[in-house]
Amino acid sequence: MAEFIKFDRITKFYGPLCVVENLDLSIAKGEFVSLLGPSGSGKTTLLMMLAGFEQATSGKILLDGAAINDVPTHKRDMGVVFQSYALFPHMTVGENIAFPLQMRGIDKAETAARVKQALDMVQLSTLADRRPSQLSGGQQQRVALARALVFEPRVVLMDEPLGALDKQLREQMQLDIRELHRRLGLTIVFVTHDQSEALTMSDRVAVFNKGKIEQIGTPRQVYDEPATRFVAEFIGETNLVEGVVEAIEGREATVRLPNGAQIVSAVSDGVAAGQGVYLSIRPERIDLAEARGAARNVLETEVTDSVYQGDHLRVQLQNEAYPLIAKLGRRSREFAPGTKVFAAFSAGDCRVIAP
């Protein structure tokens, strides 16, 4: 993979507080990478360092092979979209979008043409003469987007740009940005704490925790093959059950649970027999039946509660050793509390995670 942006052993301290620790990350040209993590995990700090608003305490940031640590922000040629839009309130929408072009000394005729094109791109052509305060939140965010894209920056950085929008608008904007990314071939680094947003939009997701990247991979990888307990719990909902590895055969491990049950599960490298581990089982991968079926993994449990949630049925299960949650499709039948059921899932639907 071509390295367009490269963070090379980046460390950042705020006083005695370490917010980014010895971090490596490479991003290819044209890639959409999300930095996902809880607040305080260092994802925004990393973005600010890439934009030039913050200086790394140590380490190098390379853009297209050249170190940019000492390049001031205004020479980095990166479009930044802020969470609070950061539109200039004393300028009209058109003037806001023309601003980066004027700073680059582009002549008036071309500026006007490109402003118009950018406004068309975000479907705001009729609002060029309004002031930002006269626009709705979604419109302001689109202006901010147009302003960050109009000068064709080498990289587009977005710092939780959709955080202030309501759910429906946010989902629409997610699809719009994804579409722009594909159409214009932009390189986008997108910071968010919303895991579904990261999964929806990204080519790759980097999951941050405490200043480090826990895992980086495609949305499917980080969801289906979480590398750590943190990733498994942060992205989506999961059942975590403790157990001990009895044997490993290829990509599969046999794990004994505290109540003696044996589970066959997918495993990645770095786990050895005899090791105490967690099993991650996604709730929507569990099937419930009253008879023991032919599935590889079957656990005997009892229903303690079931909640109808429209698009799925959420069933809480309990046996002598651990609780489980199962999400069943809407065609599923109801399960009354106290019903004895068998929870079944295949080896590929659960995952061994080293503690």
Partner: protein, 392 residues
């Protein structure tokens, strides 16, 4: 309905102390001072009969007999020498020669042995309409004499407005000086206060508190104390001159006191809070991410400042400038203590008229000129700030 009107009555009752206070200590004194400037009933009070008859006079024909008789009776009836003196002074300032004419007339009228039949027989000058015009003008209870004199204008014998002779034209020079000093002080306050406010607004926590306290502390100190402190600092053997000589920057002491430099230094210091605080209050409402946004869009720091921060903070600079300028044109103590004779501002002249020469009319008129200038400035500011872009 009765409930709402009783509530209305109660709120009016609560407002009453403020209202009475404002009426008693602001509106009424202001109004009476203003009316002093334009009213002059002294002559009317002394010459009631003359006033009655002269209402019909055409200001051209020679004085008729009834006019002369009325004036004679009025003058005979005068028993207040002080008021008579005031009247003569006023008539003399309108028409020179009145003083000798009047003293001659009053002494002739006081001669009980041979009372004169008419005024013309006392002095031929009573035949000339000019002297009667002066009396007619002086009889009017309203006068623009003070207001005109405040800007070095006066009326000639024909009643037309013209410039006063150079030896009486001092107010306009002082007015221009007042506005010039106020403008300089405003300029220096802006030069110091704007960067100061930017730095204060960009800091957080105790550093910001410290910077604001440094501005506010002088505000909480008495004006006299601050001015006296500058007196100590600026004098020839003062701290500043001693320090500059000690580090070898100058050989002879700089003249910092009893001149324009000292006045401007001291006034700038005293008025600085009024510049810093409005700018600061505007700056902290400007979102913090606008300058990073400008940088990310390719604006070097200076262009980002000129295009983003400066236009957004101009409203603060304008209101700060207005506050400083309006305060500065009324300054009195600082120029009086730190300035030389050539640095006295219009307030000193007002104080001189009010307390020194008891000429309340001139004091009121000069005060009115200041008030009008202030109101004009304020209306310009209000017009500008209502057009301010970027506000809802």
């Amino acid at each position: 309905m009765s409930g709402s009107s009783s509530r209305m009555g109660r709120s009016l009752l609560l407002l009453a102390p403020l209202f009475l206070f404002l009426m008693g200590f602001f509106v009424w004194p202001l109004f009476s001072m203003m009316s002093q400037a334009v009213s002059d009933p002294a002559v009317l009070r002394l010459l009631p009969r003359t006033a009655e008859i002269m209402g019909d006079w055409d200001r051209e024909s020679p004085p008729s007999m009834p006019m002369q008789t009325a004036l004679m009776e009025d003058l005979k009836a005068v028993d207040d020498d002080q008021a008579l003196g005031d009247m003569v002074r006023r008539l003399n300032s309108a028409r020179s020669g009145f003083r000798t004419l009047m003293s001659k007339t009053t002494s002739a009228l006081g001669d009980a042995a041979s009372p004169p039949p008419d005024l013309v027989s006392i002095d031929k000058r009573w035949e000339k309409p000019e002297f009667w015009i002066a009396i007619a003008d002086a009889l009017s209870p309203l006068t623009d004499r003070n207001l005109l004199a405040a800007v070095d204008l006066g009326r000639n014998s024909a009643g037309a407005i013209e410039h006063l002779p150079a030896d009486q034209s001092v107010n306009r020079v002082i007015l221009v000086r007042t506005f010039w000093i106020a403008a300089l002080v405003t300029f220096f306050c802006a030069c110091i206060g704007f960067p100061y406010a930017i730095i204060a607004a960009s800091l957080t926590g105790w550093k910001r508190d410290l910077m604001l306290a440094a501005v506010l502390l002088p505000l909480w100190t008495s004006l006299l104390v601050r001015t006296a402190a500058w007196f100590i600092l600026l004098q020839e053997q003062g701290l500043i001159n001693d320090f500059l000589r000690a580090i070898g920057l100058i050989d002879a002491p700089l003249a910092l006191i009893f001149n324009r430099t000292g006045v401007i230094i001291a006034m700038t210091h005293v008025l600085l809070p009024f510049m810093v605080l409005p700018i600061y209050s505007v700056l902290i409402t400007i979102p913090k991410n606008l300058m990073p946004a400008a940088a990310s869009l390719g604006a070097p720091p200076i262009r980002a400042f000129l295009r983003v921060l400066l236009p957004l903070s101009l409203r603060g600079v304008a209101s700060g400038g207005l506050l400083v300028f309006i305060s500065a044109i009324g300054y009195y103590i600082t120029p009086a203590l730190i300035g030389g004779p050539g640095d006295q501002m219009i307030s000193s002249i007002i104080a001189f008229y009010a307390t020194g020469s008891a000429n309340w009319g001139m004091a009121g008129a000069l005060g009115m000129v200041l008030l009008v200038a202030t109101l004009l400035l304020y209306s310009v500011y209000a017009r500008l700030s209502s057009d301010e872009p970027g506000r809802r």
